[in-house]
């Protein structure tokens, strides 16, 4: 195989309009969620292990540091979910124009900010 294979997109040279920001945040939140999944498994494990474990998880969730971590995790999940749904909608061919893309991106921001605030209300 040739060493210098052609590249169709040089991602080192690109500007960031709104849909690009939506996209990169989707990526960052996706990577975060991979680690969040481990935390959630841990919580599931502890909370189901015994009534003592369940009580420990509840007590832990009352701690401010846990709450911040939880909120951050919910924020990543909420954002990835909303942006992911937009992705799926665009995959079936809706809103693929430049205007549609910008509008969808705005919607993603508005809806995820609302969800993230609600998640905060829920946690505290």
């Amino acid at each position: 195989m040739r060493k210098e294979r052609p590249v169709n997109l040089d991602i080192g040279t690109i500007r960031f309009p709104l849909p690009a920001i939506v996209s990169i945040l989707h990526r960052i939140s996706g990577v975060m969620l991979f680690f969040v999944a481990g935390l959630l498994l841990w919580v599931l494990d502890a909370s189901l292990s015994s009534s003592q474990g369940f009580a420990d998880v509840k007590a832990c969730l009352a701690h401010p540091v846990t709450q911040v971590v939880l909120w951050g995790s919910l924020a990543a999940l909420g954002y990835h979910l909303v942006a992911g749904i937009r992705h799926l909608i665009m995959d079936i061919g809706i809103g693929e124009s430049w205007k549609g893309g910008v509008m969808g991106a705005r919607l993603v921001f508005v809806v995820s900010v609302i969800l993230i605030v609600l998640a905060g209300v829920w946690v505290w």
Binding site: V7, V31, L41, F54, L81, L88
Partner: protein
């Protein structure tokens, strides 16, 4: 067709499809769980165990865990092949990417085993 040993579906098209199907399963589970927890703010241990002991719930959780495994595999593979490249980092990118991919695979498999262990150990 381009195939790669470290992709999950062995081709871009099947990866693309798996990514979408798994996204929908994880989304359904997320919405269900958040709905359940919001609806039951005073959840007790007994209720929680009963929910997760139900075989339908076990299957739902297991499918979600498997979906996250596949989804994350494909997703993180894309991320690693975009950034850990020879063009951006020089020749050391190749061994680094392989190490990161293997680490990722080990962690994903550990998650799946752990999930099964939790679900059938209740």
């Amino acid at each position: 067709m381009v195939t790669s040993v470290t992709t999950l579906g062995r081709s871009g098209l099947s990866d693309w499809l798996i990514q979408r199907v798994t996204a929908i399963i994880i989304a359904a589970y997320t919405i269900f769980m958040v709905g359940y927890l919001v609806a039951n703010p005073d959840l007790t241990y007994v209720q929680w165990v009963q929910l997760n002991q139900n075989n339908w719930m076990r299957i739902f959780t297991l499918f979600t865990a498997l979906s996250i495994a596949a989804h994350a595999w494909i997703g993180l593979w894309s991320v690693l092949t975009d950034y850990i490249t020879v063009r951006l980092m020089g020749p050391k990118a190749v061994p680094l990417r392989i190490v990161l991919e293997l680490g990722m695979i080990v962690l994903i498999l550990a998650y799946v085993v752990w999930a099964i262990d939790i679900l059938w150990g209740i």
